[in-house]
Symmetry: C2
Amino acid sequence: MNNKLRVAIVGYGNIGRYALQAVEAAPDMELAGVIRRKGSREKESPKGLAGITVVGTINELEAVDVAIVATPTRLAPRITKEILALGINTVDSYDIHGKLYDVKKELHAVAQENGSVAIISAGWDPGTDSILRAMLEFMAPKGITDTNFGPGMSMGHTVAVKGIEGVKDALSVTMPLGSGVHRRMVYVELEQGADFGTIKKTILQDPYFVNDETHVIEVPDVEKLIDMGHGVLMERKGVSGATQNQLFKYEMRINNPALTSQVMVAAARATMKQSAGAYTMIEIPVIDFLYGEREEIIRRLV
Amino acid sequence: MNNKLRVAIVGYGNIGRYALQAVEAAPDMELAGVIRRKGSREKESPKGLAGITVVGTINELEAVDVAIVATPTRLAPRITKEILALGINTVDSYDIHGKLYDVKKELHAVAQENGSVAIISAGWDPGTDSILRAMLEFMAPKGITDTNFGPGMSMGHTVAVKGIEGVKDALSVTMPLGSGVHRRMVYVELEQGADFGTIKKTILQDPYFVNDETHVIEVPDVEKLIDMGHGVLMERKGVSGATQNQLFKYEMRINNPALTSQVMVAAARATMKQSAGAYTMIEIPVIDFLYGEREEIIRRLV
């Protein structure tokens, strides 16, 4: 008998690749298959997909419990809704902070109608950073939390720039300036004949970039600049009860797509323990993301 | 109309004092009263209790929604059970890691029978540190987490020593030696005629101390040594999927009873959102500990 969770991965970009490794490392999961667009499937198959079932739609896979939606963020809500409508659970890492509540609401309705569960915005920010921000706020309800990102490659921002017409390759690096203020350094490699001025203007007007100091730089070869390391420094100074100057600091230095996809895989596990609906990570008990017996986890970690 | 959560505080030691401040600072709560033993009530009333309802049993208070059990840890399970049996929710900060699952099981039965909710071991360790340990484990499932405490005064250890016959006053300070290894420095002020050798032996055999290097020192006046600051440095180095060397660090420098009681007050709020039973903090969504509207919290913190 096999009680393993059957997981499908939608998309095989950076997140998809690392998600595959995380599913293979999870003792309670097995890969149902990878879903790729026709265009991608017709190209030469990447090494990492050797021996893996690759299909065009999730219907071609057998008995999928949960789908990890590893597409560009802007495609995620539509694809997620289609999968939820089939009664299959989903995890995405939708990362546009200002819109995620509205996406959650939309997905919630579809999930409830079809008896499925969505965990949205699962990654490290939004995601585990959100859990930490929420926790620090109830530990010291008055005060300020600063989340400083980087230096490091932002996946969402990079993908957004790559989607612009005339951009052959791109890299968006986030530089922390302190107090939660950031600079975005965007490196673009252009298609033959593309106009740098037009592309730069498009980037500067994109919701991903409008709120930060952004520099767009044309380079001949983006590939040579890519390092997927990233980091966060979160700080809160606040008041517990009537006691001032409570100090908290959280720092991480990580491979970005490896961590994002690992969190998504943990969220895939957590979908199985929720009632139908759509959830952000702060709405789910942390124990639900962990592999193992409840009693053993509590005895070991609490 | 008044929809405020009515909170009772059981005990008026360090945690009780700070819990009172945290309840007063919470916009959604009001104090029902403080419960003290007869012996304590007969002494001169502390300044902080001026104008506060002080009673001997919770039955003397009106319409209590939730009780914060701020007694010494070893009395907490019994008192908590009595309150749960009245159909009133409870929060304790039971801090003996090796026994808390068994306490939870006992309380769970009582709570389910009486339609009440207990959150046990609510504080910073066990408590918010537990949430963090659980989160870091699903972010990098393979690896080692070290929790380094201090330097700082341990409330649980101090109270345990104070409970020993012949001890007039005590202070247990935790010193971090790195890699999660600690030294306990125990300062004791003795009652007239008490035997230091016997007391030292009792301390060294106490489950609170048996696992750590412990030094017991006799001093003439413990009061002069008391500083309630404390700290934690938690570190994890682990593997996400197949990616090694993911680095995480969490540090806090805080007033110990102020933070413990603030977390207990947040947990008091969270009891109102659970179904009957007993829970540790990792079994509860972090959003439930926060004051405010769900949508507003998600839009602001996720």
